[in-house]
Every structure is written in structure tokens, then in C-alpha cells.
Symmetry: C2
Subunit: 592 residues, 2 copies
């Protein structure tokens, strides 16, 4: 069975040394001392290690089954889900008025890393509930909130999001699912939804589906889409469960990975539903859920890569093949462990620097979530909106690459299912696809987010990085080793922005032919920035007495590795952006 390793020291480093959470002026953050966060993360690590991780391969092997209309999840999933909920993890960051513990997002997402690293498919049952909770909380009537949120907080009821139909995913304006008003203010929904993660199961007593549909007579296209709550079981006035609603599982998909999660075709047949928010404003309400889901999905990219990396390291320390080209290390053994070989170390450092960058980036973004929601900081909200497509697409593209490279370390053993590396690659692959395929994220970034609010957020982003570079300019060593490469990357970013602005207005194809490259350019710059913060923090710590010198030196080494070997990719992406649309747009459809 693959190993699971909770990176508690790294999480502590990010929360306290780099982000200095307890010093930040955000409501709830002053409580976040190391004692509290360590207690939370320790407990999460134990549950992840003892309960979630051992079920990861079980879920992959067994998958979900549909028997007589009922979905059976893999052995042990129900008990693990119940333990997760009983121990309060489903309620960690939710408001106290609904039974939550009101812990800030930054700590909640740190615990989330542990659970997802241990078992992505299992986490999807709880993760979607959280997103549905937020959408209902933000947009639904008090009555609906009162009816649904308490039991969703405890995880007794779970949630889903229903967008995709067989003929439409990205373009939801083509949707066919219909909602017909009833006399009592409710609606009757009919239609078919596909790719519904956690769409049915017996882990929770009830499932609260959030469903996009068109009310009879609604405007054409995306402007006629509304959001509904459709519970699997109708809820009686007293809160008890009533009759089964008109929603059933048509089939389960056979997927490349995340076998432990039930991906359902859901058929709605005059199912009773309740409007969430205004009619025809469904996309706006669903975006509350989608934006949160995109951050969570982005994190999946590095969470799975982190598990794959830990296993690659273990193998590289253990497997004896060949000798160090410079000297024999393992004189007792017939050969040296492969971790002596430069190319193995190179790929491990590539993976490690990506994972550390992604963890920093994710938890830094989590502080923006908290700033935006707890401190109502509009600038933080704008920055978060700008960077949401970047975390979703960049972190998952690079996570797939890192997981693949970790698998490669094991050679043939990596290709055999027994070792679990194939599952990491197959599982993480979905994160590039769902919650808006990564190409759609690039379109969102270049087509929508860059120009939002007259470009203020993107200018603020550039300025923030410039200010960081300035802040280390007085430290000669940091300025040379971090400031200089970061400034070069920032220059590439600004040149890229200028290209998109100058050419995109006249010819949108010119901008969009470079959209994925621009997103990756920006992703590298974000990683350079947060890794720069990490180097700065490590430098500070190294000046203190009584600290773990080796730990902070290695942090700086990892930053250097990224800045020299990954960050220069900004130039390559810039060149591709500047290559323009000609070779992309000129070929006839038939010539492909």
C-alpha cells in the first residue's frame, strides 16, 4: 500500500513563518496561534493517515456499483465519512449559528490538504457538500437555509452540483432541464444531468442537489437559467424525511480514476425543487459554489502530487540500482539507492519545489478568501477572482506533471497498479477537467478577469509583486537570488499583458491564442512570488537563535531550485503569446 505522510512541519511553516496568520488583521486570525493550528492539523493528519489513506486503493479497486437503482460506495467509505463528520471536520469553518466552528478558511484548507492527499475520491463526498452549503447560505431564503443548512453542517445530509447535460457543459446556455412552477411556490424539474460527482450514495441520509434549470418561458441562453434545491428525499415541515423525490440514478460512469466517487447520470422526472435566489439568476448563485470548487480543485493538483512525491522519495531511498558516478555511498550493499543519481534528484526537486510553491500559493489565496469574507475587503475579493482560474488550471496542470514524474521514479513498478502510483496519476487527471476545463479557465482569465474593473485587479497584482521585490532590495543576497529572477518574470508578465491589450482589442483571436500560455506565465509568477516570501521568511528565521537551521536552509534551496529551473518558463510562454494567432487560426477546419 502506498505511504501517506502528513507534511505538518511544512504546513506550520507556511501558516506561521510565512503567512504569520496570527499576526494578520483578519477577524478570527488572532486565535490562530501555533498551539491551536497544530492541534487541529495533528488531528486531521491522524484521521487522514489512519482512516482515509488505507481506503484509497480500496476505492480505486472496488469502485462504486449501481444495484437496483442504489449506489454502493466502496468498503469502508461510509464509516470513514461518518467519522469525518462526527469529529466535526465537515463543520470546521462554518458559522456557529448553524453548528459550525467558525475556523478561518486558511486553516480549513490546510486540513483539506491532508484529507485530499490521503483520499481524493472520498473527500469529494464532503467537499461538494461544503460548496452547496455556501451557495445556499449566500443566495437562498431564510426558510430554505433553516431547512437545509443545519443537517448539511453536520454532514448528515450531503450536497451536489448539477450543471452538465449530455450536450452541454461549458456552454450552459444550451441547457434543456426544465422547471415548471407549482401552485405552492415550488417547481417540478425534469431533465437529465451527467457527470454528477457524489451524485448518489448511502453515506448521508439525504442528498441536497443544487440543480440548474430553465423555468418555463425563461429567456434564451444563459440568462434564462435558474438554480434550485432538489432534495433526494423530500423534507417534512418538522425536518424529518418524507417521500423519495423524482430524481434517480440513470447510470454510473466508468472513469479513468477517482473510482471511489460515484459519478452519476441523474434523471429528474417531475422532481420537486425550490428556487434559490432570483429566477434567471442561477449562474450567479452557482458561481458562489463554482469559485469555491475551483480553489478546491486547484489544490487537488498538488495534494495528490504531494502523496505521489512522498512515495517516489521512499522508493528512491530504498531501491538499489547502479553506483553514484562520483563515489560509492552504500559500501555494504550491492548498489547505491537511486536517490544518489542526479537525474532522480533533479526530478524529485522539480516535484518538491512545485508542491511547496503550490501549498504556499493555495494557503496565501485562502487568506484572501478570509480577508474577502471576514473582513469584507473588496481588493482581496478582486485579487481572488483574478487568481481563481490560475490556481485551478496552473496548479492542476503542474500537479499532473509532478504526479507523472513521481510515477516515473518507480520505473516499471510505477506502471503496476499494486504500487498506487498509477492511481495518483489517474486520479489527479480529473482536476484538469472538471469545474471548468483548464482551457476554459484560461479563457476566463484572459477574456474576463484581466479586463475586469478597468484592469485594476491585474495592476494591483503586478504592483504587489513589485512591492515585494522592493521590500527585499536592501538585502543583497535576497535581492540577487530572489528579486532579480522575480523581476525578470514580472517583466515577461507585463510584456505579455501589453501584447494582449494591444492586440486583443483589434483581434480577440490574437489574445485567445495565447490564453493558456498567459495563464501559465502568471502561474509561474505567482509561484515565484510566494516562494520568494518563503525565502524571505526563512532568511529571517535563520537570524534567530534556537531554530532548525537545516530546515530553513532547505526551504531556501527549494526556492532557488524553482527560481532557476522553473520560473524562466515565463520567457517561453511570452514567446508563445507573441507568436500570435496566425498558425493557429489560419488552417481550414478540414486541414486538421
Amino acid at each position: 500500500m502506498p505511504l501517506f505522510k502528513a507534511p505538518l512541519d511544512d504546513l506550520r511553516f507556511v501558516l506561521h513563518d510565512v503567512l504569520k496568520v496570527s499576526e494578520q488583521d483578519i477577524p478570527g486570525y488572532s486565535d490562530l496561534d501555533e498551539e491551536l493550528t497544530s492541534a487541529i492539523l495533528d488531528e486531521a493528519g491522524k484521521l487522514a493517515n489512519d482512516v482515509f489513506a488505507p481506503l484509497n486503493q480500496v476505492g480505486d479497486r472496488e469502485g462504486c456499483k449501481l444495484e437496483n437503482g442504489i449506489v454502493i460506495t466502496p468498503t469502508g467509505f461510509k464509516e470513514a465519512y461518518q467519522k469525518f463528520c462526527e469529529n466535526g471536520w465537515s463543520a470546521l469553518d462554518l458559522p456557529e449559528e448553524y453548528g459550525g466552528q467558525n475556523i478561518p478558511t486558511v486553516v480549513t484548507l490546510a486540513t483539506n490538504e491532508l484529507f485530499v492527499s490521503a483520499n481524493q475520491a472520498l473527500c469529494m463526498y464532503t467537499g461538494l457538500t461544503h460548496g452547496a452549503w455556501m451557495a445556499i447560505h449566500s443566495h437562498a431564503s431564510e426558510e430554505l437555509k433553516e431547512t437545509y443548512l443545519h443537517k448539511m453542517t453536520t454532514g448528515e445530509w450531503s450536497g451536489t452540483m448539477n450543471l452538465t447535460e449530455p450536450h452541454c457543459g461549458t456552454d450552459l446556455g444550451l441547457m434543456r432541464t426544465k422547471a415548471v412552477p407549482s401552485n405552492d411556490g415550488s417547481y417540478k424539474l425534469s431533465g437529465s444531468k451527467i457527470f454528477i460527482s457524489s451524485g448518489d450514495h448511502e453515506l448521508a441520509e439525504n442528498i441536497i442537489h443544487l440543480v440548474l434549470a430553465k423555468i418555463q418561458g425563461a429567456p434564451e441562453g444563459i440568462k434564462g437559467v435558474s438554480l434550485f434545491i432538489v432534495p433526494k428525499y423530500l423534507v417534512n415541515k418538522d425536518g424529518t424525511l418524507g417521500a423519495r423525490n423524482g430524481v434517480s440514478v440513470g447510470s454510473l460512469e466508468h472513469k479513468m480514476g477517482i473510482h471511489g466517487n460515484a459519478t452519476c447520470v441523474l434523471n429528474y422526472d417531475d422532481a420537486e425543487g425550490y428556487l434559490v435566489g432570483e429566477p434567471n439568476k442561477g449562474m450567479q448563485a452557482m458561481f458562489t459554489m463554482m469559485n469555491e470548487a475551483r480553489i478546491g480543485t486547484g489544490m487537488q493538483g498538488y495534494c495528490i502530487a504531494a502523496s505521489a512525491y512522498a512515495n517516489a522519495v521512499e522508493y528512491a531511498k530504498d531501491r538499489l540500482q547502479g553506483r553514484d558516478v562520483k563515489s560509492v555511498n552504500n559500501t555494504e550493499g550491492p548498489a547505491d539507492p537511486i536517490i544518489v543519481h542526479p537525474d532522480i534528484r533533479r526530478t524529485l526537486m522539480d516535484q518538491k519545489s512545485y508542491i511547496e510553491g503550490a501549498r504556499l500559493f493555495s494557503l496565501w489565496l485562502a487568506t484572501l478568501v478570509d480577508k474577502s469574507e471576514r473582513a469584507k475587503d473588496e481588493q482581496a475579493a478582486d485579487m481572488l477572482a483574478l487568481l481563481t482560474p490560475v490556481i485551478k488550471a496552473f496548479v492542476t496542470d503542474k500537479g499532473y506533471e509532478a504526479a507523472t514524474n513521481a510515477q516515473q521514479v518507480l520505473g516499471g513498478h510505477g506502471y503496476i497498479e499494486e504500487w498506487g502510483m498509477s492511481q495518483f496519476v489517474r486520479d489527479v487527471r480529473i482536476s484538469q477537467i472538471y469545474e471548468g476545463a483548464n482551457g476554459v479557465q484560461a479563457l476566463d482569465l484572459v477574456g474576463r478577469k484581466l479586463g475586469a474593473k478597468g484592469g485594476k485587479p491585474v495592476m494591483a497584482f503586478g504592483m504587489m509583486i513589485k512591492e515585494f521585490i522592493d521590500s527585499i532590495s536592501s538585502d543583497g543576497s535576497l535581492s540577487y537570488s530572489v528579486g532579480k529572477p522575480l523581476l525578470a518574470a514580472l517583466g515577461d508578465f507585463q510584456t505579455g499583458c501589453t501584447y494582449l491589450m494591444q492586440n486583443g482589442a483589434q483581434d480577440p483571436h490574437a489574445a485567445l491564442s495565447g490564453s493558456t500560455d498567459f495563464l501559465h506565465l502568471m502561474g509561474h509568477l505567482c509561484f515565484g512570488y510566494v516562494l520568494g516570501m518563503s525565502a524571505k521568511a526563512s532568511h529571517e528565521k535563520l537570524g534567530e537563535s534556537d531554530m532548525n537551521e537545516e530546515f530553513y536552509c532547505q526551504k531556501i534551496n527549494t526556492v532557488q531550485h524553482y527560481l532557476h529551473r522553473q520560473l524562466p518558463m515565463t520567457r517561453m510562454h511570452l514567446k508563445r503569446i507573441q507568436a500570435g494567432p496566425d498558425t493557429v487560426m489560419s488552417p481550414s477546419v478540414e486541414s486538421f
Copy 2:
């Protein structure tokens, strides 16, 4: 079922317009006019389309089964294998004295693309036979050749290669399989081999295992390894099959992909074997097989990517989502096909330019095989040896990337097994791992091939590209659009070589920390070179009357796409090489 499309026009273009095979001064090439090659490729395309492709998903779904010690291959594989052999494809390039057709390698590998694109797992049963054939032919005694080669030519008997053991793959010096001499000149082999592709099956009447083992008392390490023929069934003096030999299937591996191929643990228990070549010179003999297998494996990278691409294109033409940002194309429909969107076109062009580059590179290398073997051209043999690790690793790394990107075009449908895109990704993944993992290829290139023969082959390689650039210098358009970017890439290559020479001698870790980047730098340069040849050939054709103008213009567009958007990666790889070994080698083992 996924679509299969035989790219016959592209193969004709490469063979006749670019490589101009029938004009080349290589024995057997003067026969290769378009009539002959078209007849061969048409027939291969039909068999691939009608028989191989329909079994691809069948093989993935059913996999192989081990029942009572007997391996059962998927439904239809046996009939397809027999058809392949009966139609003479197994004997295409083999010498006439053993019943072959003596067709040059360049055409044989062109047919190979069609079969592999249609069904990689099935092709592995025939491909390994070919490699074993070559090793026996090059190194075994006349008696052994007489006994085994005729039936292997017809495919009545198949072949395997047995190197890996549970504790050793790359480092074969650690091998434990023992060979004890018998009185009659044969040996008794005992030991266990793993990851044996096509290790057992009922497709052929007999299986000729080529097995590495150590003769009792042989020197330690790799210098004590010998090569043996171990037939599944012993062969009587009259050529009929005798008793079952002492080799049995321990188990079948459960793999990420290529489920249709039986990957076996083979247990040898006093199995009768016959020495091939000299004692203790087994690696040398096996390298005949491995070098051929590495070219074949490299090709798998683009063959599978080509099938994935064809399906992505089909989907992109068919799937309606969103509108072209500039104008409505499909006024009748509710939305435009996604092939109008710049990012979809960008990724398709990335895939297409890689596939066309890989096809050119592979078939150009095939002419080096023919030059080396048929014309005994030593320089061609040296160049081939230099570029073998490049085709193996670069083409498969990029093939995996391209197949993944093709899968991405289908969004959620790409992740569902039904559409076949997941299988392409899972299947092609093995090509980066087997026949020497890609990191080992980089080690071979930098640690062995660069310095071979005092660096003559690598200097010849650089000179060849320089001569090509010079050859187009009088054509202003070609010189600007092709020569200039190629010269920049050549400069990066030379700077990289210089770095490795200057630093590698003092500190081998400095060279090897950049080995994978150097291999990729060189891969891009190779693709730039062959694509440059393709642009030059297309320019020439455009000057002729009565040609398909659209076809050649598109070829040039594809070259331009690669030169602008992929070739500049040479600079990034150079930067990574120049980043040196510090961040890679300095971390302690514990810090990973």
C-alpha cells in the same frame, strides 16, 4: 468506439517528398516508388482499420487472464495475430533466405505506425518477435538460426526479451538468474524474470524467450551476463515441437494500460537454454534487440498520440459549445463547433506539429538504420546510436503530453473510458518507462553517447544541421522563417554541449543534473531539423504545377507553428542545464 484514421497522405509526403526514398543510394531503395509504397501502406492501413483498431478497446476492457497456468488473450487477438502473419507483415523486412520480403526498414516502420496507432497492445506480440529475431540473427550460431528463425519469420513462433528481475531492472549486473552447463552444450536456467511483455499467450505455437542469466562462476556484475534462447516448448531435431520446457507464468501484472498485452512474471526452473554468442557477452547481444526496441518504443509515443489527436479533431468538429468570439459560424445551429475557439486550435496545432515532427524524425532515423545495415555506413550507424536515446525519450515524453492534451479537448468525455481517450493516455504512458526509463536514456546520451568516438558523432550531428541551414540560405523566405530559428536552437545546443564538456569532466554531477534537459533540447533541435526539411520540400513542391497547394501550404504552417511555439524551448532547457547541480545535489537524503 474511437475512430482510427490511417494518415496515408502524410506517410507518402514523408517518404517521397521529404526523404525522397527512391532516389537514395541505399540498397533496396530504388524499388521504393510511390506505387509500391502506396500498395504496401494501403494494405497495412486496411488491416489496421478493419482488424486491429476494433480490438483496441476490447483488449483494454477484457485484459489478459491467467487460468490454470495458461494465459488467455482478449477476444479476437488470436485471429488478428494470425491474419497479420498470414498476410506476411511479420516477415516484411526480414531477409529472403529466412522467408522474408526484404523490404527496407523505412517502409516497414511506416506500416508499423499504422498498426501501433490502431492497437499498441496487440502490436507488442509481433514487435518483440522482430527484436528477438534480429538478436538471434546477429549473434547466434548457424544451427540456432536454422532452428528458430524460419518459424519466427512467419510468426508461427513468437519472441520475448527477459531482462528485469524483481530487484533489478536498470542495473542488470545485480541479476540472479543462473545458468548451469549441461553435458550436451545446453544450459539449465533457474530464476525469476518480471515485466515480460508478451511473456505467454496462445497466439503462436511456440515462444522463444531470450533470457539474460549468469553462467555459474561468471565474473561479478554486468560482465558476467550471458544471453540464452529458452523456448517454451523444446524443439525436436526435425523441427517439430517436443516437451514443455521448465518455464512457467508466475502471475500477470495489473497495469495502468496496455491491458491487452500479457505482462508476465516468468519462472525458470531448470529450463533448457542455448547460449547465444559468447559467454559473458550477453549484454552486447541483447543490445541489438534493445536498440531496435528503443526506436520502436519511441515511435509508440507519436503513434498513440496520432490516434488520440484524430479523435480530438473529430470531437472538436462535432461538439457545439459557445460562439466564435469574432463571428457566428454555424448560424443554423445553437452554437459553434469548438474547433472555432483559439485555445482548442492552439492545442490541436501543438499536437499536430509534434506528430508530424515525430513521424519525420522516426522515418528519417529509419533511413539511418537502412544505411547502417544495408550500406554498412558507419557514420549512419554512429548517428543512429547517438539519436536512439533521443527518439526513445523525447518522442515518448512529448507523446504522453500530446495524448493528454488530446484527451483534454473532450472535457469530461475524455475522462470517461467509453470514449477511448483515457486508454490512449494510459497505454502511451508505458513507452516512457519500458525499454530503459527515459531518465536512463538521458544518462546514456550524456554519459555515453556524447563522448563516444571522441565526440565525432555529436559534431557530425551539429554539422549536418548547419549544412542544412546553409542549404536554404539562398532562399530568403525559408532562410528567415526556418533557418533563423533553427540557427538559434543550434546555438543553444552548442552552448549546452560546451557546458557539459567544461563542467562534466570535473564534476559528473554537473552534467547529469542537466541530462534530461539536454536530451529534450536535442529532441527539439532534431524536430526543428526534420520539420525544416519538410518546409523545404513543401516549398519545392509549391513551385511545381499540378500539386495540392492547400496540402503543402498546411505543411509549412505546421512547421511554422512548431518553430515559433515549441523550438524556443531549447533556450529554457539550456537555462536549466546552466543552473548547474547545486540545488539538485546539495540537499541531504533526509530533506527530500
